[in-house]
Amino acid sequence: MSARLSKGGRLLDRSRAVEFTFNDLRFRGFAGDTLASALLASGQTLLGRSFKYHRPRGVIASGAEEPNALVGLGRGARFEPNQRATTTELFDGLEAESQNHWPSLEFDIGVVNNKLARFLPAGFYYKTFMAPRAAWKHLFEPVIRRSAGLGRAPSSRDADSYEHFHLHVEVLIAGGGIAGLQAALVAGRTGARVLLVEQTAHWGGRAPVDGAVIDGQPADDWISNAVQALEKMENVTLRTRCMLSGVYDHGFALAYERVADHAPGDARPRHRLWKIRARRIITATGALERPLAFAGNDVPGVMLASALRDYLVNWAVSPGDRTVVVTNNDSAYLSAIALKEAGLEVPVILDARAEATGPLAERARELGIRVLAGRGIAAVRGGKRVRAVETCLQAGEGAVLETIACEAVAMSGGWSPVVHLWSHCGGKLDWDEAQAHFRPDPARPPLDHNGEGFVIAVGNADGAMTTGAALESAVAGARAALKAVGKAAGRVAVAKAAAEPAQPMQPVWLMPEGASDARRMKMWLDFQNDVKVSDVQLAAREGYESVEHTKRYTTIGMATDQGKLSNINGLAVLARELNNDIPKVGTTTFRPPYTPISMGSIAGEARGELFQPVRKTPMHGWHEAHGATWEPVGQWRRPYAYPRTGESVSDAVSREVRNAREAVGLLDASTLGKILVKGPDAGRFVDMLYTNMMSTLPVGRCRYGLMCDENGFLMDDGVVARLDEDSWLCHTTTGGAERIHGWMEDWLQCEWWDWKVYTANLTEQFAQVAVVGPKARKLLETLTDMDLSAEALPFMHWADGEIAGVRARVFRISFSGELSYEIAVPGGQGLAFWEALVKAGDAFGAMPYGTEALHVLRAEKGFIMIGDETDGTVIPQDLGLGWAISKKKDDFLGKRAQQRADMVRPDRWRLVGLETLDGGVLPDGAYAVGEGRNDHGQRRTIGRVTSSYRSPTLGRGIALGLVERGPERMGEVLEFPMIDGRRRAMQACIVDPVFYDKDGEKQNV
């Protein structure tokens, strides 16, 4: 049993007890504890069940690399799954629950998978659940998903807030250990803008735990002096609980600050995502200890030697009375010595090396610890906790030499530099034979826009594994960064560390060397995803020679810890099996984030009312107050209809349509794009943009125009007004304003840069109201002295004047087929103008109408709508708009494309009207079927419905559609099979697309 020691714990505040619960049981820890240290101190070594075999699992590490100790944290609106107990700071009232077990952590039925493990090797699911296909969806997948997996997803809205923060710095330093601090001291003294981030709540990293001595002082003293010095520098920003999670192109980096995880509900943002632009990034991210692969290395109580040391020194946690240490290098001796000095027993140190002669081994022997060289662990005994280890010869096959009772095992397989940040943006690695690890290759760093490396690795993260080497590397790294940003480091006093002589490590990838297959099936590589030595060997035998393929086949390194402990061991086993060198096999790709970051931090402020900007016209509030239902159009909200009390939305639409046809309707058309195009070459420019001739349009006149892209496809339409000799005002669709403005600027800036044309997007400068219907003129005449008669202002003309006391421009244009004026007024007066029209309109039966009535009105007239009749594959000729395509112009955008064979083939789908035989309404998007089958054996389609409405004017369903050779087939009846369960297909007759007032008499009055 693990327990709390009565003394020690450098991070503990024993004066402040903290209460928390784990699986609804009450526990107690101290301020400064992590959830993992507090649980261990309370004797709770079993923390969860493994992903696939549901094996009992305990804490193995002490930091971000922890694969096992994942818990569900919090409750309700603050519940979050898969939180690492090792990086969760303890706070009063913390609630945690273990994961992946049923019915309970102690007794888990899923552990039957463990008994079946030999039948569940890598690739088992791929191989087994092949057929029948339907069984996947209804049987295999639900069962597998239930038995495999980690935490459950939260079901409530997140109660917390999140935010982003942008910062530009010259030098960004990741990692607040001694190397990061040393680099910050060097950089900070030059006045450079420096940001130093540390993922934990404490500065200094592991140097104090490992007993480093710097400048003759204990590491703790040197660290607090360094932090004090840095805090005095105004140009240096220090941040704990802030992890550099990703490095991206051009010196962009993301840091994940856990502002209030340790104080939930205190009104601060829970997480803050820093978006940092740095000239140079120094990674001082340290190194991670590797596990050893011996049978039973996943039993709760087996820990990394360094983690065990952390728990002992930082949190005064005894892992149990007796700890067996197993290692292939000197660092694990520090744990043995620390245990002994804390009054605990170390029955044996099993050193896999042929001899143990380093100074630390000597010290251990002096303390009376039995040190056995050339030995390893044959197997760990115990289920839910370690009971004993069986020792063996490392060079042998695992014959048991001795069984040693113990409660814990401290293992060390060597150290791997944390190269993730170096690698995120393309930094390459070198294999360091002596230390048996990958380290950054300084000759192949991630490159910036100048082709220069912008990431510099220092300290342990660079493979500088002693205190002295780490500090020297930090100074050198800081110098290099400063030189790149144009700052001179000058003379720097490098902190000096006491020498740390050590015996070279010896790589051990399998313990013992000749372990049997049965033992290899119990040697865990990836603890979180339950991948064993035997799985990687199987993958190699089955031909998965690439490390990337092996990763995906076995799922090694694919869990939430992304293989921080398993990657190197896994690829070493693979290399061995392939009889290849480790560097030849290579590593998988490290990708951001370093550890998972919250979804909330990525969203930042974008939730609730800030999720997306809602664009509002000046009359938005009026519509809202008058009961409008809304239709999103781009980011705008437009009134869809204005249902009255007790009226259905569809009844409201019918009423609005009839009223516009019979009396007068008012439409808020402010969202239409309005782009001013001005300059000596403006006429030439609009002639290129539109398919028809715009340069010849007389001042004072309007013309409907079509815009196509280079491929000839129709992309926008609208009315163009000639304002004066060199100015055209181009109206676009609501959703098209920004896109078309960008399109214009693209051509002007990139292709026709010598044309003298300026554009300005004036969409929001004006509120625009369409006054539509037979009484439109009469209504407006009560508000203005302007002559709006057919003679003074004929169809497709415009005029300036004053209406209702507001400066106005009146366009006599119609998208409804009725007598219609569209009136633009300054946006700030839009609401007053609208209200004046509503008031004066009372006498004429005026009513506002929404976008649905607008659609019905235009469909009755056979007018196309961009996005309904077009979908990016439709050319104007398909829509019977050949009349709007100039034959005289030499060129316009899309002209050449429209001459391609596919565009002129006679069987293109073309626009027609569709009248159902029974008067019903065709479903939008319904397909018409013809004879025969296509290449895929499906019924051949010969057309589709693009717009469909019930016309209140005609009292029947009307539709527009694109039909193969449509206009040549007037009167033909098409069949539209239904997909909504109705067995009978609907039948519709091909008719002219203009259903109402074919001669346009109503708008020309």
């Binding site: 943002p269 632009r277 402020e605 809602v614 664009r615 300026y758 929001e764 400068q765 946006g827």
Partner: protein
């Protein structure tokens, strides 16, 4: 809003804005600008003038003229007249814009939560203007003094921008860096 907010956010309505596009190096344009607001043509990312009349650099061929609302028509007409015959564009965009004042010591942090622009005092001082992005919309802002900034966005998203700024100024959300 609480007094402890990082900054106070207020809307302003008295300002007119006129877009002027043309050859910024030309003498007629410079003298037209001088007549309009009493300032020379500003350099890149700069704004010259005071709360009443100012001219801001928007792009290599675009300026923004600021003046009191009542003077907009006169200033527009004056610019058009002065530049008649030369290649240019003048457009009143006052109604297309919304203007916010952000007052208080935390204004830099409020903006830095929402825009990628560098807001450190070294990079963004008095007379500097940035045309950039504020969360999901376009915006421009400048600072006239130590503890305040002025921000311009499109009128249609004024409510969104106001809510963004107020949210970013919540008293509990101080970053303590800028």
């Amino acid at each position: 809003m609480s007094d402890a907010a990082l900054a106070r956010i207020s809307r302003e309505t008295g300002r007119a804005m006129i877009t002027l596009r043309g050859d910024l190096a030309s003498r007629p344009l410079a003298s037209a600008v001088k007549r309009a607001v009493g300032q020379p043509v500003p350099g890149p990312r700069a704004i010259l003038g005071d709360d009443d009349r100012a001219v801001a650099w928007m792009s290599p061929d675009e300026l923004l003229i600021l003046c009191p609302r009542g003077e907009a028509a006169g200033v527009s007409a004056g610019l058009s007249k002065a530049l008649q015959g030369s290649f240019h564009l003048v457009a009143d965009v006052s109604d297309a814009r919304a203007v916010f004042r952000i007052r208080g010591r935390g204004w830099r942090e409020v903006l830095a939560k929402l825009t990628p622009a560098d807001l450190s005092p070294a990079a963004f001082g008095e007379g500097e203007l940035r045309r950039t992005r504020l969360a999901q919309v376009a915006a421009a802002f400048w600072t006239g003094g130590r503890d305040e900034a002025t921000l311009v966005c499109f009128a249609s998203v004024a409510d969104y921008v106001q809510a963004l700024l107020e949210n970013a100024a919540r008293p509990e959300s101080a970053v303590g860096v800028l």
